[in-house]
């Protein structure tokens, strides 16, 4: 899962980014509104965490710009403004969730995972695919009832496939959602990760659709 984190505070931004990466998220950090609006319109993200008080362009305007550009990525507003009127205004501007600073990292992570899961069309947090189980709330995979150990990249790829199980995910789309914006991406790295995942969960579940991408196929 790739997140756009928009936070102008030089202390807080990198800390949130680090905490989210610890939870396997790929994080791009923007520290002003103009960059944020641009990134949200041009890059692919699973979700955005948006501060309201930003230099350049305020958070609500950034959000409106995304919505006007038909970017429907789920957005969580993370702000110091805790008045109910601010919350109402945030949701009216098109936000999907709202969290007040200071916050518990666990709560931010939980809300982000829930947002991404709901945006993929799943009402329930537990997803299954054959022997594979994913608790999207905890971010934990199980294979045949046993916890599955995954690297961050493996987790990002598998969670993408799991959230859109049965559908073909374009290779470039998958790449964008796995790597951070400034990452040096080797053209073969995705194939390497898929290969390692097949070793862990069995070769049959992930299907390669030639010339297009990948699909998680669940046995009936």
């Amino acid at each position: 899962m790739r997140i756009l984190l928009v936070e102008d505070d030089a202390d807080l931004g990198p800390r949130i980014a680090r905490a989210l990466r610890d939870e396997n998220f790929a994080v791009d950090l923007a520290d002003d509104g103009i960059d944020a609006a641009h990134l949200g319109e041009t890059e692919l993200y699973d979700a955005a965490v948006l501060d309201l008080g930003l230099p350049g362009l305020d958070g609500v305007s950034v959000l409106r710009a995304w919505r006007e550009a038909k970017r429907d990525l789920p957005v969580l507003i993370l702000t110091a403004r805790d008045a109910w009127s601010d919350k109402v205004a945030g949701f009216k501007a098109g936000a999907d969730d709202y969290l007040v600073k200071p916050f518990r990292v666990e709560e931010l992570v939980m809300r982000l995972r829930a947002m991404v899961r709901r945006a993929s069309g799943h009402a329930q947090p537990r997803l299954e695919c054959g022997p594979l189980r994913f608790d999207s709330q905890v971010g934990q995979f199980e294979l045949d009832g046993l916890p599955l150990r995954l690297t961050a990249f493996e987790w990002r790829v598998l969670s993408q496939l799991m959230l859109r199980k049965g559908a073909v995910i374009e290779r470039l789309n998958l790449l964008e959602r796995v790597y951070e914006g400034d990452a040096d991406v080797d053209s073969n790295s995705l194939e390497v990760i898929i290969g390692r995942l097949r070793k862990k969960i069995g070769a049959d579940l992930i299907e390669t659709i030639r010339g297009r991408g990948y699909r998680l196929t669940c046995p009936a």
């Binding site: 505070d9 202390d11 807080l12 800390r15 949130i16 905490a19 008080g53 110091a80 403004r81 805790d82 008045a83 109910w84 009127s85 919350k87 109402v88 949701f91 009216k92 999907d96 969730d97 709202y98 007040v100 600073k101 200071p102 916050f103 518990r104 990292v105 829930a114 709901r118 947090p125």
Partner: protein, 444 residues
Amino acid sequence: MRLAPRSLHARLLVLSALASTAALGVAGFTVASVLERFVIEGLDERLDSQLTLLASVVAADGRIDRARLEQRLATLQAGPGWRWRIMTPTETTGSSDFPILDPGPPHHRPPDIARDDSSRLIPMEGASEAGVPVHARRLTIQTDAGPVTITAAAPRDVVLRPIRGALMPLFGVLILLAGLLTTATLVQLRVGMRPLRRLREQLTELRTGLRGTVDEDQPTELRPLAAELNALAAQNAAALAGARQSAANLAHALKTPVAALAIDVRDDPARSAQVARIDTTIRHHLARARVQVANHRMATALAPAVADLVETVGRLHLDRGVDFAIAIPDDLSVALDPHDLDELLGNLLDNAARYASRGVTIEAHRARDDARRIEVAVSDDGPGIPTAARDKVMQPGVRLDEQGDGHGFGLAIAIDLTAIYGGSLTLEDATPSGLRVVLTLPTA
């Protein structure tokens, strides 16, 4: 001890009563003296004509012409108490019981009717042996034998009776006049003070937030006062906005570093608890600061505000799967600042959504016993709060549930806000289970 009454109304009334009493007193006294003088002058003329008659019986050598006296005495006007006396150097004659006399007060001396070098006319006052006051005139004429004094006296009653007769109705009229003047003053005060009373009522409304300014279309004397009051109110409103802004600025300034700190210490439970305490304290005081400056009353439509809040609260608790039922007529408006209404109902709906097992209901209607109030009820079907714990919950800042945000914090803000707007908040049992928070709020 203060002699002047505290009330302007009473002061003006007392002053006016004193002034009219004094004026009427002076008028009464003046009329009485003028009247007395006229009557005395009339009496004096009668006494003087007697004196002239009596003087004609005194010969140039100082002797009294007895025959002539007898003749003159018959023509002397007399009634009971009228007396006369002629004193020559050699003899004294006159009516019996002649009173003891003193020269009268100087102001009784009229212009002499027969002033010449040889005769002198003076008024005199005195009393008869029976104690009846008398008024007299004494004429002194010079004869070859020496000065002869002729005195004529009449009872003062002759003067006083007509004066009394005239003064009784006069004083009656004066007292009636005093009553009329006092009534007129009362009416004047009532009418004259009316703009002041209206201004005071407007000021009360200004203070309680029912209006933004007082009417500047006032009588000339009050216009500067109204303008000053409005300037003061504007200054207050600016200070209020400034305080709100400062609170918001402080919130942002403190919360972001505290958020960074919370992430740094998140693996250390003791320090995390400290940071949580800092957070609670900041939130508590900011909420308080917001509540204390909140008193701008304006008509805020209830239904749209509730719809927005329900949408917001619903999204914040999306995974709890709570259903919201809203029953609020479209025409209800409350006299609350929209931000305060959001804060009040947002906290209550948030609590309800947090504790509900399936559903939250929010209803509103005009209070049955008071058309100027609106009753709003927020109910959940959660565990509710036991009656014994409710008093504790109603105390500010008390949290029933120390894990996460309990009812306490939001409820405390809601209680403070309803109190500021003159409303009320009570906790009841919902049916079949859960908590029902009932608010009364002023209508717009």
